[in-house]
Symmetry: C2
Subunit: 264 residues, 2 copies
C-alpha cells in the first residue's frame, strides 16, 4: 500500500458507514488539504458502487477538520446501468466537514475522443521550477510539500517572485512523491493542489474553497499530470478557479471549477 | 405574480418541507425542462436561508418527472455569516427526481469586479434569429418555446441549417416571454436553456444532463441575457457543456458546467 493509499483508506463499519483516519501529512497550517479530504470521502462513495469511476463529484466544504478519526456516511440515491449517484458526508465529532454527491460511471481506458480541446502550451517539466508556495511558506505548508510535487511553468509563475500579473492563469505539473500513478483519487487531490489562481494577481493568503465540482473525463496514463488554472471573475469577495488536468499522453482527464472566498 | 413565478412557486408544508405543482408549460416532449426543475427546487432551498443569493448550486438529475404535484425536502447543513448550505431534493411519487446542494450568500448589487474576463463577441440581438430548435422540433418543444425566447448568433448557428461545424461553441440571447426580468431563478432556467452544445457538431438528439453545477456571480440587470456555450471533450458517450451568462450591462452573472450523455 502506498503512503497515499494508506492516508486516504476507509474501512467499512456498516451499511453506508466507513471509518477513516485523517492524516497530519496532508495538513496546510492548521487545516487539512481540501483535495485530500475529497479523496477520502470519494473512497467511501465509490466503494459500494457498481461503477469504478467518479465521473461527477460536487463537494461543499463546511468545516475545517483536524487530523485524527473521522467517518464517511454514504447514501445511494440512484443505481443505474450508466451511472450511479451517492450522497457522501465526511463527519468528525458528529459535525459534517465535507458533503457532496458522487456520480460513478464506467469509463473505457481505451476511449478515443471524438472532440477534444487542445492541451495547454507549457514548458517541459525539466524547465519548470519547484513549488514556490511551499518554499515561501515552508513552515506552514511543509506537511503537504512532503506529499506532493508541483512544478510551475515560468511563463505563469512571476507571482512567485513578487511580480503578480494581470491575467488569472497558472500552469504547472503535479505528481505525488510516493510514486503513486494518477487514478481517480490522485485526481481529486490534483484538482485542488495548485495555489489559488488569484495568487497570479498578487492576492496571496488563505482562500477557502466553498464549493468544488470536478469531473473525471478519462482514465489517466502514468506520469506527470499537467495542470492549467484559470478564472473568470473576482468580485464581491468571491472568485472562481477552473482547473484542467491533462495526462502524460495529452488527454484531458479532469475538469474542475471551485467557488472560493478571497483572503481578507 | 408572473407566469414564471406561478410555475415555479413552492408552498411551505412543514419544517424543510415544501409542495410544488410542476407545470406542463415547461415540458420538452415527455420530460420537463431541467433548468425549470432547478428553479423550483432552488425556491425551496433559498426560502429558509438567511441569504438571498444562491452562489453555488450543484444538481444531480436522477429521474424524469411528469407535470403535476411534487415536493421539495430541504435540510440545512451549515448556517454561516458568509454562506449557508442546504441539501434539497425534488421528490415525486416518493422518488427523488433532482437532488443537490445550494449555497446561499449575499451579493452586493453594486459590486464592482476587481477582475473580469471579457464578454463574448456576439451580433446585436436584432441580428440574431429565433430559436431554430423550437422551429425544427415544433411539435416536441412547443411548451417550452411559449415560455422562453432564444435568439442565436448567426456566426455559431450554422448547425441549425444542417451545416454543423467543428467547434464546440454556441452564442445567443435569452429572455422569458412573460416579461420577467432576470433574477436567480431565471438564471437557473437560462443556464440550461440553449440546445445542447454538441448540436454545433451535428450531434442532434436528446442529451440528458447527469450533473449540473452553476454559480451566481452577480445580481443581473434587467434585459436580455447573453449566453455563451462551449465544451472541451466529447468522449466515451459523455460531454461537458460550459455556459456563461452575461447581463445587459456586460457583467458575468452566472457560470455553469454540466456533464451530459450523448444521444445514442
Amino acid at each position: 500500500m502506498t503512503t497515499f493509499e494508506d492516508a486516504t483508506a476507509v474501512a467499512k463499519a456498516g451499511e453506508g458507514h466507513y471509518t477513516a483516519e485523517l492524516s497530519a501529512g496532508f495538513s496546510i497550517g492548521h487545516a487539512l488539504h481540501g483535495g485530500y479530504l475529497m479523496a477520502v470521502a470519494q473512497r467511501a462513495a465509490v466503494a459500494g458502487s457498481p461503477h469504478a469511476h467518479p465521473v461527477a463529484n460536487s463537494w461543499n466544504f463546511l468545516r475545517v477538520p483536524r487530523p485524527g478519526p473521522a467517518e464517511v456516511r454514504v447514501e445511494r440515491v440512484k443505481t443505474g446501468r450508466t451511472a450511479a449517484v451517492s450522497r457522501a458526508t465526511l463527519v468528525q465529532d458528529d459535525q459534517a466537514v465535507l458533503e457532496g454527491m458522487v456520480t460513478t460511471g464506467t469509463l473505457d481506458p481505451d476511449a478515443v475522443a471524438s472532440y477534444s480541446a487542445k492541451p495547454p502550451i507549457i514548458a517541459p517539466v525539466e524547465e519548470c521550477r519547484g513549488d514556490p508556495a511551499a518554499e515561501s511558506n515552508a513552515g506552514r505548508q511543509i506537511g503537504l510539500a512532503h506529499q506532493m510535487e508541483l512544478r510551475f511553468d515560468p511563463a505563469t509563475a512571476e507571482w512567485a517572485h513578487g511580480r503578480p500579473g494581470d491575467t488569472l492563469e497558472m500552469s504547472g505539473y503535479f505528481r505525488l512523491r510516493d510514486g503513486s500513478e494518477p487514478d481517480s483519487y490522485v485526481l481529486a487531490v490534483a484538482v485542488d493542489a495548485f495555489p489559488p489562481v488569484v495568487f497570479a494577481l498578487g492576492s496571496y493568503g488563505w482562500a477557502p474553497t466553498v464549493e468544488l465540482t470536478w469531473h473525471m473525463r478519462a482514465v489517466p496514463a502514468p506520469g506527470w499530470l499537467t495542470g492549467h488554472l484559470s478564472g473568470r471573475l473576482v468580485s464581491d469577495g468571491w472568485f472562481d478557479e477552473e482547473v484542467e488536468l491533462w495526462d502524460s499522453t495529452g488527454r484531458l482527464v479532469a475538469q474542475a471549477r471551485q467557488l472560493a472566498r478571497l483572503a481578507r
